[in-house]
Amino acid sequence: MTDLYGEAMRFLTALALTWTTFAAGAFATPGQPTDGALGFQPAVTPIMEEVTSFHNILLVLITIITLFVMGLLIYVMIRYNRKANPTPSKNSHNTLLEVVWTAVPVLILIGIAIPSFPLLYLQDEIPPEIDFTLKATGNQWNWSYEYPDHEVAEYFSNMIEEEDLQPGQLRNLSVDYPLVVPVNATVRLQVTASDVIHNWAMPSFGTKMDAIPGRINEAWFQATQEGVYYGQCSELCGLRHAFMPIEVHVVPQDVFDAWIAAKAEDEYSEAADTIIAEYTAARETRLAQLD
């Protein structure tokens, strides 16, 4: 309100930016939200790719349906207003019409169900060949992680407060001790909670699983692109619900092996952090040169 002109310009710039980038298809940094974005974050797992393409179909369908209803409404408002049509008809039944608008939606729904169920089963059924298991526990208000197959003891992953942010870290998303997984590895995720219900959600993976005290829920993912991915707790858990983010680094197998070895020695190992930091710096330099 202080600077209405600035606000308006910011609005217009963001709008223009949104639509041009959207049209260009080069939309967003994978793994994090983009300001002014209109759709999903880029998919980096087979599940999320399926979710995205299924949603694209649904979006077209619902847009057509909405425009159809809007078109009908506009038509009757113009054609049958009091000026255009002073004498109303007394027609109040048409069996054929009623059968059609019952049957056509049924057919559309069957059409939706055909891709919907395979996606559901793909998400839910953990592949028989998994590489390792990862356990996430939701706590008020942080996540703790274990790599039971690699004998890494439970470590806690806390959000980095705004005043401690380093360059390149994201407010409300970056954490001190992230998860690290190898690229293309099939990971079984086990989720539980120690106090109230939380939810481990990673938009670019298409993973969202309730962390419920007293039970262990399972999900799986296979990240196919190196990078840093962010997610957030997605079940209201009290005071700091908005401040217990999730950060996953997807790295080459050899980097992961070195990291996990250091982590098995000491779950808060500085050497492990250095391995990831060096790898990330090298990758960023490489990406910068590509640009």
Binding site: V76, P105, I112, L120, N217
Partner: protein, 544 residues
């Protein structure tokens, strides 16, 4: 005074006699009290949503800073933000929409439309209403007593999921809320019994069940949903209460209980509840569309039984709110299929409204504008519902702003638009005075634009991954949140216009006609004066 003579004739007590209201057994007076109560609750619930949009206008903490200075000193911290979202939901559902639709319009027009002199149990009607202020008082009190530790109020969401609502909130705020919802539930169950008895037994001679106006049908289906679902909520709430205070462990895993069991019980109530909120709106919109198209409603029987079907299916789809709790995949598949079926009767209703307008002679009076707005916006909310029904996609959208956008399209833009359609349709009948239709139409446009600017961008936020119930969000969600908050300002202007219409009508007091809408208005309430006599139909009307 001539006014006294008039009141003496039809035994109308004075407006200023407190016994007329506190001891009221008159369905119209009780209906009016419900409407006034709903407006009052709506101001509070709407004010709370203003705090939410204010906080979310920019990244970072603006309002709920938790600091001892500035706004934080008044509004508190992130816990209080959670309290505000929780209470916004509970107030809008239990103390605004339900009292307005069922208590207000239901009480006023169900007896009038079926040609009955009053409700079947007038004294029970009185207690139904007067339990509500008590319930509301308890809910408001809960905001100002300790909830979690030293933080005031219950901030666990309107769904009250344990363990956050049991071990997560150790203070008395949650207990007050449980008591409040119990009392609101009793009020609704008594009201439901009253409506069912009235509709089944007090229809005028000749009014068979298949000649009943659609609004009466909609209330009949709604109160059956209330009667069957509220006891389940009462059971779940009682188990929460004993888990909290008497050492039981229904929902505590450490004692062999299951938090997910609560969610099943809650949503067995909660899903019918959302149809309770919208079904009377379907009824209202049917009358408005038919009246202003000057045509009988298209496919009356299909419309009536579509509501029955929606009510029935509403009871067997509850777990689509719980796709991420780790249910067996076959169970999820069942709930996907059942949920998508709801689109069919809903589609029948949308198309039948349009077919009613087709071939009609449409007059764009104020209620009709709200009704047409309702049809379009409810369609938008409906199609996103079909998207969310698919558990595979819901995996990505569950608990994001996409869901917030979806249910505000069907409730804030659906149910609320239907309430305003009914308000402006029956205003003159209820109050006996005309209103300024220019101001009322202006209110419609501000609401229509404002609500869309608030809620449409929230689809984008949700798709891009912004979780709901967040006091602060990553910087990349700023743009659409800012747009959304500006939309609130537009809607606020509409709200001011609403009160301007009310005040204008009360000051000018232009006498209303018995039937301001002409030949399209065919139901029995238009055969009476505006306002109707204090007691009507001493001689029952005969329906051909």
């Amino acid at each position: 005074m001539s006014a006294d003579a008039a009141t003496h004739d039809d035994h109308t007590p004075s407006l200023w006699d407190w016994r007329r209201w506190v001891l009221s057994t008159n369905h119209k007076d009780i209906g009016t009290m419900y409407l006034v109560f709903a407006i009052f609750a709506g101001i509070i619930g709407g004010g709370l949503s203003g705090l939410i949009r204010w906080e979310l206008m920019e990244p970072g903490l603006q309002v709920f800073t938790g600091e001892d200075t500035g706004w934080g000193a008044i509004f508190g911290n992130a816990h209080n933000y959670n309290v505000v979202t929780t209470m916004h939901a509970l107030i809008m559902i239990f103390f605004m929409v339900m009292p307005a639709m069922i208590g207000g319009f239901g009480n006023w027009f169900v007896p009038l439309m079926i040609g009955a002199p009053d409700m079947a149990f007038p004294r029970m009607n009185n207690i139904s209403f007067w339990l509500l202020p008590a319930s509301f008082a308890l809910a408001l009190m809960s905001m100002f007593v300790p909830g979690a530790g030293a933080d005031l109020g219950f901030g666990g969401g309107w769904v009250l999921y344990p363990p956050l609502s049991t071990s997560g909130h150790n203070g008395p705020a949650m207990d007050l809320l449980i008591l409040s919802l119990h009392i609101a539930g009793v009020s609704s169950i008594l009201g439901a019994i009253n409506f069912i008895t009235t509709i089944f037994n007090m229809r005028a001679p000749g009014m068979t069940i298949h000649k009943m106006p659609l609004f009466v049908w909609s209330v009949l289906v709604t109160v059956f949903l209330l009667l069957l679902s509220l006891p389940v909520l009462a059971g779940a709430l009682t188990m929460l209460l004993t888990d909290r205070n008497f050492g039981t462990a229904f929902f505590a895993p450490e004692g062999g209980g299951d938090p997910v069991m609560y969610q099943h019980l809650f949503w067995f109530f909660g899903h019918p509840e959302v149809y309770i909120l919208i079904l009377p709106g379907f009824g209202i919109v049917s009358h408005v569309v038919s009246t202003f198209s000057r045509k009988p409603i298209f496919g009356y029987l299909g419309m009536a039984y579509a509501m029955v079907a929606i009510g029935f299916i509403g009871f067997i789809v509850w777990a689509h709110h719980m796709y991420t709790v780790g249910m067996p995949v076959d169970l999820k598949a069942y709930f996907v299929a059942a949920t998508m079926v709801i689109a069919v009767p809903t589609g029948i209703k949308i198309f039948s409204w349009i077919a009613t307008m087709w071939g009609g002679s449409i007059e764009f009076r104020t209620p009709m504008m709200w009704a047409i707005g309702f049809i379009f916006l409810f369609t938008v909310g409906g199609v996103t519902g079909v998207v969310l029904a698919n558990a595979g996609v819901d995996q990505s959208l569950h608990d994001t702003y996409y869901v917030v956008a979806h249910f505000h399209y069907v409730l804030s833009l659906g149910a609320v638009f239907a309430i305003f359609a009914g308000w402006y349709y029956w205003f003159e009948k209820i109050f006996g005075v005309k209103y300024n239709s220019f101001l009322a139409r202006a209110q419609f446009f501000f609401f229509f634009i404002g609500a869309n600017v608030i809620f449409f961008p929230q689809h984008f936020l949700g798709l891009n991954g912004m979780p709901r119930r967040y006091v602060d969000y990553p910087d990349a969600f700023e743009f659409w949140n800012a747009v959304s908050s500006w939309g609130y300002v537009i809607m606020l202007v509409g709200m001011v216009l609403f009160f301007a219409v009310l005040i204008d009508a009360m000051i000018r007091r232009r006498k209303a006609d018995a039937n301001p809408w002409g030949e399209g208005a065919t139901t029995l309430e238009w055969t009476l004066s505006s306002p109707p006599p204090f007691h009507q139909f001493s001689e029952l009307p005969k329906i051909k």
